[in-house]
Symmetry: C2
Subunit: 594 residues, 2 copies
Amino acid sequence: MTDYKAPLRDMEFTLFELLKFEQHYDALGVSEDASPDVVRAILEESAKFCEGVLAPLNAVGDREGCQWDNGEVRTPAGFKEAYQQYVEAGWPSMSHAPEYGGQGLPESLGTVISEMIGTANWSWGMYPGLSHGAMKTLELHGTDEQRQCYLTKLIEGSWTGTMCLTEPHCGTDLGMLRTKAEPQDDGSYAITGTKIFISAGEHDLSDNIVHIVLARLPDAPAGTKGISLFVVPKFLPNDSGEAGERNTLACGSLEHKMGIHGNATCVMNFDAAKGWLIGPPNRGLNCMFTFMNTARLGTALQGLSHAELGYQKSLAYAKDRVQGRALSGPAQPDSAADPIIVHQDVRRMLLTQKAFAEGGRMLSYYLAQLVDIEHLSEDEDAKREASDLLALLTPIAKAFLTETGFESANLGLQCFGGHGYIQEWGMEQNVRDARISTLYEGTTGIQALDLLGRKILMTQGELLKRFTKQIHVFCKENAENEALGDMIQQLNTLNKEWGELAMHVGLLAMENPDEVSGAAVDFLMYSGYVTLAFFWAKAALVAQANEGSDDPVYRAKIKTARFYFARVLPRTQGHREAARAGGASMADFSLDEF
Amino acid sequence: MTDYKAPLRDMEFTLFELLKFEQHYDALGVSEDASPDVVRAILEESAKFCEGVLAPLNAVGDREGCQWDNGEVRTPAGFKEAYQQYVEAGWPSMSHAPEYGGQGLPESLGTVISEMIGTANWSWGMYPGLSHGAMKTLELHGTDEQRQCYLTKLIEGSWTGTMCLTEPHCGTDLGMLRTKAEPQDDGSYAITGTKIFISAGEHDLSDNIVHIVLARLPDAPAGTKGISLFVVPKFLPNDSGEAGERNTLACGSLEHKMGIHGNATCVMNFDAAKGWLIGPPNRGLNCMFTFMNTARLGTALQGLSHAELGYQKSLAYAKDRVQGRALSGPAQPDSAADPIIVHQDVRRMLLTQKAFAEGGRMLSYYLAQLVDIEHLSEDEDAKREASDLLALLTPIAKAFLTETGFESANLGLQCFGGHGYIQEWGMEQNVRDARISTLYEGTTGIQALDLLGRKILMTQGELLKRFTKQIHVFCKENAENEALGDMIQQLNTLNKEWGELAMHVGLLAMENPDEVSGAAVDFLMYSGYVTLAFFWAKAALVAQANEGSDDPVYRAKIKTARFYFARVLPRTQGHREAARAGGASMADFSLDEF
């Protein structure tokens, strides 16, 4: 069985050749800390840890799962030791603030490390992954005292964090949230309520768990405008800042899930647990958005992680497994049969995964660059531009990369035939683990509504134009490219249609707002395919400039781009027609007609 | 949690109104035994058994799985008792030959019963399901003695059957098969070898298990032309025809699978086990095709079963779960939120499942009708026509209905948001169980090669024309239909393109045979969408003739047809473009470029 191997060459291509990270870090003034040599050294170190320590625990985590015993949770064998190594090597602190013990490296570097961790072992990666969101929330919205108390420990990695939003009766619709926060005389709050689906809510990896919890103050207005944010630790920090007295909260049970068995998905009961307000009262949802956007970009990475893992394993199998003959005649006449990679249908499945994995990497690292700019740039225009593009592209990345990640995981399994259905190859685990990604952190449908409703229609298309203009300029600049001109032209056409499609749905929605929901997912998928086409065309251009190089990565990029344009991108046609058709065929079903 | 409810009204619509089964049975001279009243009574009886006995065991089977102990296999709690009830009620004998104890009812009726059983509990249904294939093989290719000995017991249900093809190194490519059959002095053969993935290979439901095994005679030519078929019972029949001495074969282990946990997937070791030749030497693969075609049609049913089950459960949830508000304003202003069925995106997911489940039912029952004609008709032209259409449509039904069944199961899960990922709702089991269906009995890729290569190109398009001509005539006859004319026109255009697409790929393949593999799956999916469009258009016409009826099924059929044409059928465009593009973008990848 092939284990995970970090695709360092492709990562470097994407970072330095496609996205010009050297110049990017230079412009932000962080190039001294994050020079190409330093970046390479960090990536190699991370690859060693992910390949050597995390990947072998991936199947273990799936089979053992987490064990609940009277409120305590034991993670699978090896998870705790791996976490200790992770902390000792200083990984948690890499992209966080030096004033609280962080190394101050740009967040984009953290994205690359997260991809490696997630591909090696997604369930394990969720423990530190959730912490990053908690850290960001405290960095931006916590008081200095809260940062000193919690952030330092989280950055050190000795404590971990969670995000407690969902309740049994409310997930998407947080306005119905019931958990209560009663003010206490000492300035703290007594938090009472039940939260469900809390990833890493309880476990044995760290000394303390810092819960970021949404709850209502007694006088809060109804709905989403009456929600506040609290920090609620498992153990109350004592005078020396260490984990002290046990707080009155506990893990009531673990969920039995389809996949990500190695991660503890907890029901958390808060029973007048002591917590402290983060940010202003009743503004919790706004503060939480910081956490949610980070989590959405993190989940986008999950899509490409499963595509990458499925691709690596199915590629190895397709080269190795002999079965049948090429239709054009034996490719290996001396052996009993040909390796199945000779079949074009197998190549179709492999290359679809490759196109989504590498294309997803380009999109994700580009978004990481935008996050850097948003946080570090001193150029206000650049910041605003980055922020706008992030607003537009985050729902696309989250939904499109997870949908195509799940498709890829399934194609990877399919390459194995019946063997893919058996536990030992790891392909079915990859599918089960991937399946959560289109659900949590906002389903595909919710991302699509966010994209089409909030981001596009509510801005009268302004946000979309920011991006389609980039594509338009790119197409214009490269229209005369002889070898790649057909791709550029195809991209240019789809890019124009993108805006027209948004306008068309906007007009339908003026008549009936429900139409936004009717068109949203097809519109989002259309958007995703065009976005990835843009990055694939860019990659082909970069590769073209290296024609004649011995490095196969350049030939591969051009060929994969051609494959993507010829065999994957035509799906836009179906999505466009479906989105254009709108909701007319769905609206008038009465309940007895379903 | 909603359990399975047999969709009797839709089954009757499909049988009697759409496909005119009354006239069909009349023409075959079986209408006395299978009058509409008898059929209805049988369906109602079957529904009671499936809803009351099998459906409650579906989750049990998944959680308990099968237990292996020193060669013996214990099925999940309740499976054995359910099987006893099934046998006592006479279900195994329904569609089999009266001379061996069968009731002689047409096979098409068995298809409807199989759908119910499979939707209620697919894993359980595989035990009797595999038996039907074994029975058919013996009916057609066994000697009279073999039929007396084995078929009688299989029809009675006291014995069950299996199908032993796959070996560790060969699945698709049976030419590499190694299991040996040595002739013995008593006319029997000593069978030695290892078979894997043997569904229902060992269990505790029946008194004996009859294995139909592919093996090689000592002097057999290499490849597929040297394979023979044997009947190899677990217990050798004694003089009184009962299970006697234990044969030297055993279940070596059970596979750990992604789903269908309730069914035992066995490694079977044959150690000079006693067996008898079925049919002529070295013609085993031809005989086995009987079994395989039955199994493929059975697997097509699996696709629609998972679509139906997912649809039923997600529909109930979408009506019940309140969350958020309709974009056009509160639909239920008095409750805290609206049921999620108000959202068009949820309707899109529900209606896609409905279109695939009901459309899959139409196609499957139509194929069952063709099987009846092939076996029972005395009109040679009708038989040939039925046989040709079956040859063409079997790979389409198997691959397309299982691919869309898996998509449907996933859409059903998606309607539940994060809750769908949790075991208790049964949605994730439905996805895991559905996942096998695109793999076994020939993967989607293999079906697609069979369709495009063997069935279409090798007959110079003759088989395809048999079906497209039907569609053409239908479109012509109904071109003037005012209310449905737009759908008819859309169907007519796609139908023409279907033939052109086949021709286009045929021309590519003349240059390079590998192109068939490059285009096959997209071609098959295109074919599937058009085939279902034909049935949906037909259903809409039947419904139109009942305009004004109070029965909501008619309004629902027209609306679902409109939904299918507007929102699902446009996917043909992407598949057409991808198939047309052929393999050029995949062929020239060298191994280091993957």
